[in-house]
């Protein structure tokens, strides 16, 4: 663990960005507090669509990759999406090239982005997570690692992020493998995300991020059976904004490490709410589907709110 990262554990960062928007997070100096949620923006595909304008107008202050697993994954059978009032369900199933493919094909492309890179990883056993963390430990292109703990440990049957003991055991295994900041992505489907966050902090996590999507299911309009190919999916969008705000507030009061808050953020005001609830960074996800440049707009709206506030305070 580097000295700046330790220093960032001070509680002061939880009051949000400096007046100019600059934000410190786990030793990283970011231009503003808006990042993407993992799996909601593919910078490589976006560059094919938008060209180098993506790099010059990059919407996030740091980029979080899609989840990387040890083995390649095709993802779930379609249909994968369902629009509902105030949001959407997705059942994507973490398609990715696997660790080797990511290191060979994706990492060089993501290293060209103008912002720090956070790689999100998920394993089905603690050893798989260790393989992934070890695989990135010495890669200087990677600024931090985010652990997706929303899946069951196939050896214990417990969701790694739904049980404080599981989370602590996972951190105990992988913490010694890297000096890079480790962010634990919490699931709102746990009964007590606050307890899981405390366990993560005690076991050496540098930050927590929340919320992942909420589990849901859509019925097929004609057959009545499950619409999604993966049967259940994750709910995101404005519908989960209040759930996220409550969870972020609870967790931020129980840990001293920084919190990345996300869930239904669509405006600078939504981001401000999460920062005031104790988040240091704010993730944008589903809103980027509606507007690829949503991150830029939300960061600008947030800066506008802060400017207005400082003017009022004189």
């Amino acid at each position: 663990m580097s000295a700046p990262a330790r220093a960032s554990r001070a509680r002061g960062s939880s009051h949000g960005p400096a007046p100019d928007g600059r934000t410190s997070f786990c030793g990283l100096e970011l231009a503003h507090p808006i990042v993407n949620g993992s799996g909601t923006f593919d910078a490589i595909a976006a560059r094919r669509t938008f060209g180098d304008a993506l790099l010059t107008e990059f919407p996030f202050a740091a980029f979080v990759s899609k989840t990387v697993t040890v083995e390649p994954r095709q993802g779930n059978p379609p249909p994968r999406l369902w629009e509902q009032p105030g949001g959407m369900l997705n059942s994507i199933g973490l398609p990715n090239r696997g660790l080797r493919g990511f290191l060979e094909h994706d990492l060089p492309a993501l290293a060209e982005l103008p912002v720090p890179l956070v790689v999100n990883v998920m394993g089905f056993t603690r050893e798989e997570v260790a393989t992934l963390v070890g695989g990135f430990a010495e890669r200087e292109e990677v600024a931090a690692l985010e652990l997706n703990v929303s899946c069951p440990n196939v050896e214990t049957g417990l969701v790694m992020g739904a049980d404080p003991g599981e989370t602590a055991a996972l951190l105990a295994r992988v913490r010694p493998l890297t000096t890079k900041p480790l962010i634990v992505k919490l699931t709102p489907n746990a009964s007590a995300p606050g307890s899981v966050a405390e366990a993560a902090e005690s076991a050496g996590a540098d930050a927590v991020s929340l919320v992942n999507t909420l589990r849901g299911m859509a019925a097929h309009p004609r057959s009545g059976g499950p619409w999604l190919g993966g049967v259940t999916g994750g709910l995101s969008g404005p519908a989960i904004r209040t759930v996220a705000l409550a969870a972020v507030r609870d967790v931020a009061r129980r840990v001293t490490i920084p919190v990345v808050g996300m869930g239904g953020v669509g405006s600078g005001g939504d981001a401000d709410d999460l920062l005031r609830a104790g988040a240091t960074l704010v993730g944008v996800g589903t809103e980027s589907f509606r507007d690829p440049a949503a991150g830029t707009r939300i960061a600008a709206e947030l800066a506008g709110l802060r400017e207005k506030e400082s003017t009022v305070r004189g």
């Binding site: 095709q74 994968r80 398609p95 589907f289 509606r290």
Partner: protein
């Protein structure tokens, strides 16, 4: 000629210039806030007002539509009111505003030396064929055969948007009584040196794929799938190919029929 025009980054506002009914469909014309698209590319459309944004309502996500034509500084889209998104778009009037992201995806590719283009459209799927017919006429100078299928006369009114079509209707009220793929079989028997370009409902595309595969005719299919973002972010629009799942929004929406086991896509048209 590239099959992909790069899009400006982020969505752009566009003012609606014209909105009128064409039989069972609506034609929506707006200013083009970006570069000229290639035929077969598409846009993500949302009305600037009353389209999600925090209120507990649908539509919430933008809707993917290939342009019908891109004349001058305008974009023309053909709509069919089939759900909350297309209904909201069909309510727009001149002066209203749209959000547009695009042009997106990879459009139609050239026919190849000596191959006669044969265009096959079904229902709302006739839209991208209009731009492609214009483009083929301008670049090759030659004629291409255009086969269009519709449910009934009200839908077949859209045939007037394209040049010299042979029309089939399910109810026999206009043109050939039956499905458009019967016309396709007759054309391929007459001239096996054709390259087929098709857009339409999944059962039609699957019939086109099977007919072309049987006769060794190359085919490009402009496909549709439920899509949240249109630029590769959500991974929601995958279709199965011989190489595994591909995202229709970045590898398509036009795919080579030979890359598909089946064109029956799950989750289209939600």
């Amino acid at each position: 000629m590239s099959r992909r025009t790069l899009a400006p980054f982020g969505r752009r506002r566009a003012t609606v210039r014209e909105a009128r009914g064409i039989g069972a469909y609506d034609l929506l014309a707006c200013e083009n806030p970006g570069p000229a698209p290639r035929p077969g590319q598409f846009y993500m459309l949302a009305a600037a007002e009353r389209w999600g944004g925090g209120a507990a309502e649908r539509p919430f996500l933008p809707r993917a539509l290939s342009h019908l034509r891109a004349p001058g500084d305008d974009l023309h889209f053909l709509l069919e009111d089939v759900g909350p998104g297309t209904r909201r778009l069909a309510e727009l009037h001149p002066g209203h505003e749209l959000w547009l992201t695009g042009p997106l995806g990879r459009g139609f590719g050239p026919p190849g030396e000596g191959r006669r283009p044969l265009l096959v459209g079904g229902g709302i799927g006739v839209a991208p064929l209009a731009a492609w017919q214009d483009d083929l006429g301008a670049t090759t100078g030659g004629t291409c055969t255009l086969l269009l299928g519709f449910r009934d006369a009200a839908h077949a009114a859209a045939a007037a948007l394209l040049r010299d079509p042979l029309v089939a209707t399910d109810d026999g009220s206009v043109g050939h009584p039956g499905v458009v793929t019967e016309l396709l079989v007759a054309e391929l028997e007459r001239d096996s040196g054709a390259v087929v370009y098709a857009c339409g409902p999944p059962p039609m595309l699957e019939a086109v794929r099977a007919i072309c595969a049987e006769r060794g005719a190359p085919a490009q299919l402009a496909m549709e799938s439920g899509m949240a973002c249109g630029y590769g972010a959500c991974f929601g629009c995958v279709v199965p190919t011989r190489e595994g799942y591909v995202r229709l929004c970045v590898e398509g929406p036009v795919l080579d029929a030979g890359s598909l086991e089946s064109a029956l896509v799950m989750g289209a048209g939600h």
